[in-house]
Symmetry: C2
Subunit: 352 residues, 2 copies
């Protein structure tokens, strides 16, 4: 089996951690002997934007569409407004390839510290609707610059969009030992599209009688995450709500620098995209000290998506041995370099 993977390192430490991640993927392919990778690099970055005025060249998405998966580093630069890099690169790919299911696992890996007492109980997967809702780009401004100015933001929810994300979340919950799914919403304050979101959830729930469901308001769920982390498993929420909750989850589980994200097109009509949740971190870029564990965990999700479940499990086990060993980069209080950590995990994979 050969997997064609498009690689977009992006900006800052994105380049370093993705290079490290590729080495680990190669080590796993060698270990297995059953599959290989064909990587192709794309220089879609803020530097390219500053030079050529565009992140994605003409015809770029069509080219990308032929790959089996996309391995993404980080994007963001002081010299480009955030909303430009977001809409011209990340959202262009996510929305262009209809990667409507954003999946973010949160748990405390061995040896990783959390500031939350009882954080060991955290074992969540946050499923984020990734194609509409609060990120629809709708809204406007009238009487601009005048005292009577009004600005709007319009969240657009479609039955189809809601149904497919709930079905995805139910299937994911069904595949896990606890089979629990928590619906997050704010339909007491928002009584239109948000109510549709709820209604469709309970319709889809009928198809999954073996999944244990409950619901929380988005404000209340933050307190449950802090006070009763053990009571949740899979969480499904809108684009904005889950954006907030997944950052909180990463902070509570101590995994802000190492957690991964999958932007999935579950039907595989288009390639899916895998990226660590951390940003480009220009302050430490180029020094060889970035923590590559996020790109490894991301690689494990990518392998899983490609059907290489044995390699994915092998990699997760190696990551856990690595974090448990105490070999840590500066962000976690250690002094190991990106290369030290990468070599350690590659030789661990070879030796197992």
């Amino acid at each position: 089996r050969s997997h064609r993977v498009a690689v977009i390192p992006g900006d800052g430490i994105g380049l370093e951690v993705i290079e490290a991640g590729k080495k680990v993927l190669e080590a796993l392919a060698q270990k297995s002997g059953d599959f290989t990778f064909q990587f192709e690099d794309f220089d879609w970055s803020s530097q390219r934007y500053l030079e050529k005025g565009e992140y994605i060249p003409e015809g770029g998405l069509e080219k990308l569409a032929k790959f089996d998966a996309i391995y993404f580093g980080a994007v963001g630069s002081q010299d480009v407004p955030d909303h430009v890099s977001l809409w011209e690169l990340r959202l262009a790919i996510c929305q262009g390839f209809d990667q409507y299911a954003n999946v973010r696992p949160a748990r405390v890996l061995p040896g990783v510290n959390s500031r939350l007492k009882g954080a060991e109980e955290i074992d969540w997967v946050i499923v984020r609707e990734n194609s509409e809702g609060e990120y629809s780009g709708n809204g406007g401004r009238v009487h601009q610059g005048h005292a009577e100015e009004v600005g709007t933001e319009v969240s657009v929810f479609t039955r189809k969009g809601i149904e497919r994300i709930h079905r995805f979340a139910f299937e994911l919950a069904q595949s896990r030992p606890c089979k629990k799914l928590t619906l997050v919403t704010k339909s007491n304050a928002q009584r239109h599209g948000m109510v549709l979101w709820d209604e469709v959830f309970f319709e889809v729930a009928k198809e999954f009688p073996d999944v244990d469901i409950d619901r929380e308001l988005v404000d209340a769920v933050t307190t449950r995450m802090v006070l009763k982390p053990e009571t949740m498993d899979v969480i499904v929420a809108t684009n904005l709500h889950a954006d907030i909750l997944s950052d909180l989850a990463a902070a509570l589980s101590g995994s802000l620098g190492i957690a991964p994200t999958a932007n999935l097109n579950p039907e595989k009509t288009f390639p899916s995209m895998f990226e660590p949740i951390h940003g480009s971190a220009f302050d430490i870029a180029g020094k060889g000290i970035a923590n590559p564990v996020g790109s490894f965990w991301t690689a494990a999700m990518l392998l899983d998506h490609l059907g290489e479940t044995t390699a994915s499990e092998r990699l997760m086990a190696a990551i856990e041995r690595l974090t448990a060993s105490g070999l840590q980069t500066k962000d976690l209080g250690g002094s190991a370099t990106t290369r030290d950590v990468t070599q350690a995990i590659c030789s661990d994979i070879e030796q197992q």
Copy 2:
């Protein structure tokens, strides 16, 4: 000086904690000798709604408008949908009286436990826009019940509404020792009304050169709350964002059962409303075991608003001696009753 206070105990434990709070307010008035209270009770509750089909009787708001302040318990019942009690009682008062500034302090009182390591550093005031934005009630549904259904939620932000909440937040920040204000937004993803929110912030900032400002995205600010609580002071955010952040703040500081909220009409054209953040908690209602500390802390904010700053400070000091003393109700792991705690704080106030 005589203060006319409208009392709306509402539902469940609201009745018990507000009764306790009134006793404490009376004790403070006696201690001072300089002011008195005229309380008037209103039975606006879910029970009333179930019996008469309305929370607020005809002409109710006009009657309420004549008071100096409103002391509110809790609302919410299993027998009434949340969105009904919200829109027909709380939002009717908040929006009817243009209580556009919702203020929520968060800090760890002595003797109170938090699950967050380093929570002692928390000393925040969250300022929530309380009259528009995501709670505008706008939006709709088309093709209802059909496959092509679309639902929307429209957040409406006005320049006037934004300007007054930012100015309020700056003035509040200016009055505190650190003079810091953090703007929370999501203007990278939402590029219309949310951008207006940012722009007006920086315009208003020019009037307050002595306030130290910074900004965060709403997702990133949750991680800062967990990891660097000491770096924030006053936080200003939209109706929905601040709703989420203030619940998180209460959970992180261990004050979920005891924190207060003020719904302010800063110009005093209409009365302001003060309420503990906790709900009606029907599971423990009527047993005399509810924690009244939230209604005491709420009473301190009410006193402050009425200009009784000495009494307000006296009450906060008494609350801190109370929590430090370890006399705790069941929710905090103790076995004291509502009455025990109320008597303890009243005699402490008398004796000081």
